[in-house]
Symmetry: C2
Subunit: 535 residues, 2 copies
């Protein structure tokens, strides 16, 4: 027997329609690529999105077609989000910070039919065009002259009607596409649906998640080409929060100026964004004037950063964790009732974990044999996740990454009794020694605390008895003096004896990815057959 | 093209599973029918819900079967919510305050197979049994002896295993049933689905709706037999808020004692609940010690009540509006950013409206011809609503109440430019005079402000030129002196001249429904052909 409720699909166009009807004069403010501030509201944005929908249909864009963007956070990028998904096509946000060849691969793999781009990326587009023959048109996001051979966005809109009825279709229809940029292999595409997006928006808007309200002014520093700006633009449409888009100016000074002038109350970005903002405020002897709450994600929030924001600036810090494959939000480190009486230091110890699941996401940790492990805060295992906004497959890739219905995150974590996860390592980096696991990250953190160490990496190398044992690879500070014995002695009392690395290798420099992360695959290639003493 | 997201149905059992896994030791506290406090947590509640699921299957309950409750808010009622819906059956909450014959009608119309009841209702059950032959078993919610011929709840649970895997099924499956109790005709059943319930829970948990978090202690005064206690138990499972159930003791003194002892931060109920609590606090010269936020709904919140709670007690008042047919929440009177700078009085003027739509609900106002009317805060029209948790039909009733896909609420409202609705009248009570509408409620509110008036009703009576004109029916205070001319003169300057009633009738007493509302149908029967002066 079925319920007798009205049947409305969960569609992205409904978010825009709700914002226009119920929060029509809520502001949408953008710093343009050219610099000046652009002001509009949700009612006008809806009208322009409908113009764009008509323009797209006139260009021949149909259901399921992929339409790419190479663009900063601006009102135009939001219009593209809405119009492309709204007509049943797929908005493919391309990360312009990837290597050119990766971008070519991604555009061709996705078979993008049109590419919208900010003028910042005109030189990039010029270099891409010859290698992306499937793209039928390159559309410059400008009211001025488009580069030769490209279409002009504002001309397209001016020629289109603003009368358009959003089609109603199956909520499982694809809406957006975002490629991961792993350290190995080609990027892989995650294809979000309208259903997954709207459910993620509801969950993200809960009081224990991002808690965005119509009294907020939200500025997503996290780019719209990076997993839908963590869903924040959608949450603003759902709740009627004023939305401030920073364009291309993401340095501390520009952001703080925009925080102040637009009275921003909520913002979100990776830790380096906040370190940049704090450094600017310190140097200019200023503080935040309206900011109340920030979400930090993308990588672990250093405790010192959380301390500075909370204690020096009175900002409430939320720490989040997620993945491109998770739309992206999986956990938020909101405290529970039992933590309310803790003092700042103890409360931050809870909040520096990666948080607890928002409803819709479930997780578990398993050992190498797939057996579920306890939530005791110390046992660590592979983190598996499931839920309606988590990927089941990659776009146009064979097979499924799922294991018995669960998505393996590639993270090794502990989970405490309150359900807070703490990332210990990446699965491929954890060292499996005699059936037990050793965290490479914990060993690296100890090494870099030694004053003579500039940077350190720990990898597992083969061992005849223990399968793997940790090898520490160290780059010393210039002119520092450090012996193998000093270094290994430094671990005494800090970890269990069997965790201490078996050997130390000193190198002149460690390899990194384009985004500055340690490239352990290269280290494993170089040192995987390293002969440990006594093996 | 479809998205590549995992496919998980939105199920009520998932809410319980999430609470047990991620908030396992969060407390569920109930005042029992016998009086003492019962304490458990979400992990144990999940285990008992699984026992009950096994017990239900052993009783032969299958998908789609209706299982009724006559019960107060307690942990057992929550277990029934979860287990009945969890196995794919339908939890039919019966309002024990209805007339006995209505209850008989409802149980037979729903074809309930089992009825769970609190011992409070043992005499009622005894009187029902002969007239409800379809009920295969009556189950007393007790660990003691069940009344003769009835089953004992705790015996059933004790005999059942707590190993049970919740079945996964279509999220549009029926989950719960609640009958409306209109003033005319037989009660009609609203059949909620798992999908509608989970979406309503997400929307209700948004920061701009009820904003319940894991730091809250929530006490729903609104009964679980009244539209799922406005969804609050589900919201607590979703967010991990501590849940306090008041049992049968809903007087001011009992509630305030429970607020204090359990450190309740959020509560919800109809205005009379709050008037009772305030009166108790005033008489005992006390205040609230932990309560921060209350949701008031069910009928309009008197401004004086909101003032007292906010100004005297520092409680944040949320005003909500909804219907049984809306699961029930449609709007919440959370302020917008533009209202943040208003002082208390002006802010309360916004909040005394019935609120603005939460995402998922859309509405419009139309005139008698179905033409959409403007949102200007003064034009009033019939309110129509749509959304995935709004009814499209009634259980086992022919036809659909929908009008072009919209549900007619029966309310006449204004909508202002910010999307806040204000209820002006019921559609059937509004007076249609010469193509314009006159609010009977506005005219009644003016009349009762006259010191000589005890109670007043305004109805439309036939008029040869204007179709309808208002007739004022007044019950004077004992010994008060009031003439027709005094009464009509009292309207001068308070409403437009054409709104002033054409005549006044004085009566000894006005007719009421069982729940104390003015019974205008009886007045229309008596005075519908009243001959107005000059007509």
């Amino acid at each position: 027997m079925f319920g007798l409720m009205q049947d409305h699909p969960l569609l992205i166009s409904s978010l825009m329609e709700h914002a226009a009807r119920h929060h029509g004069d809520t502001e949408l403010v953008s710093r343009t690529i050219e610099g000046p501030i652009h002001r509009t509201d949700f009612r006008a944005t809806h009208a322009r999105s409908k113009r764009l929908a008509n323009a797209l249909e006139r260009l021949g864009v149909g259901q399921g077609d992929r339409i790419a963007t190479l663009a900063w956070n601006t009102y135009r990028h939001l219009e593209i989000y809405i119009a492309v998904a709204g007509i049943g096509a797929v908005c493919h946000t391309v990360n312009p910070r990837l290597f050119r060849d990766q971008i070519v691969y991604i555009i061709n793999h996705a078979a993008d039919r049109f590419v919208f781009f900010d003028l910042t990326f005109a030189p990039l587009v010029e270099s891409l065009r010859g290698d992306c023959p499937g793209v039928k048109g390159w559309i410059a996001l400008t009211e001025g002259a488009a580069p030769a051979g490209c279409l002009c966005y504002e001309d397209l809109l001016a020629a289109a009607s603003e009368r358009f009825d959003w089609p109603q279709f199956d909520e499982r229809t694809a809406a957006a596409l975002c490629y991961t940029s792993g350290t190995t292999g080609n990027p892989k595409g995650v294809l979000y649906s309208h259903r997954s997006t709207v459910l993620h928006t509801y969950a993200g808007g809960l009081a224990d998640a991002l808690a965005i309200s119509a009294r907020d002014v939200a500025l997503p520093v996290v780019p719209m080409f990076h997993v839908n700006a963590w869903g924040i633009p959608y949450m603003c449409l759902m709740t009627g929060a004023k939305l401030v888009m920073p364009g291309a100016a993401l340095d501390g000074k520009s952001l703080c100026a925009l925080f102040d002038s637009e009275k921003v109350t909520f913002s979100a970005g990776v830790p380096t964004v906040w370190m940049g903002a704090l450094q600017y405020l310190r140097e200019s002897n200023r503080g935040f004037t309206s900011l109340k709450r920030v979400l930090i994600g993308g990588s672990a929030c250093p405790p010192a950063l959380m301390h500075a924001l909370e204690e020096e600036h009175g900002i409430e810090v939320l720490h989040g964790w997620g993945m491109t494959e998770m739309s992206p939000v999986g956990t938020v480190s909101q405290i529970k009732g039992r933590h309310a009486a803790l003092d700042g230091t103890d409360r931050r110890a809870v909040k520096c974990r990666q948080g607890r699941a928002i409803f819709g996401v479930d997780f578990k940790i398993v050992d190498g044999a797939g057996t579920e492990l306890p939530w005791d805060g110390t046992t660590f295992g592979d983190l598996l996740v499931k839920g309606p906004w988590i990927a089941s497959a990659y776009f146009n890739e064979p097979g499924s990454p799922l294991s018995h219905g669960w998505f393996p995150t590639g993270d090794v974590v502990t989970i405490d009794g309150d359900g807070y996860i703490k990332i210990t390592d990446r699965s491929k980096d954890v060292i499996k020694s005699g059936g037990e696991w050793i965290s490479s990250i914990d060993l690296e953190n100890i090494a870099v605390a030694h004053p003579a160490v500039a940077e350190a990496a720990v990898i597992g190398v083969k061992h005849p008895k223990w399968d793997e044992r940790p090898l520490l690879i160290v780059q010393k500070r210039p002119d520092a003096d450090l012996t193998r014995e000093d270094m290994l002695g430094f671990y005494a009392g800090k970890v269990a004896k069997w965790w201490v690395p078996d050997d130390v290798v000193f190198v002149d420099t460690l390899p990194h990815t384009a985004t500055g992360k340690l490239l352990k695959t290269a280290l494993r290639r170089e040192f995987g057959d390293y002969r440990l003493p006594g093996s």
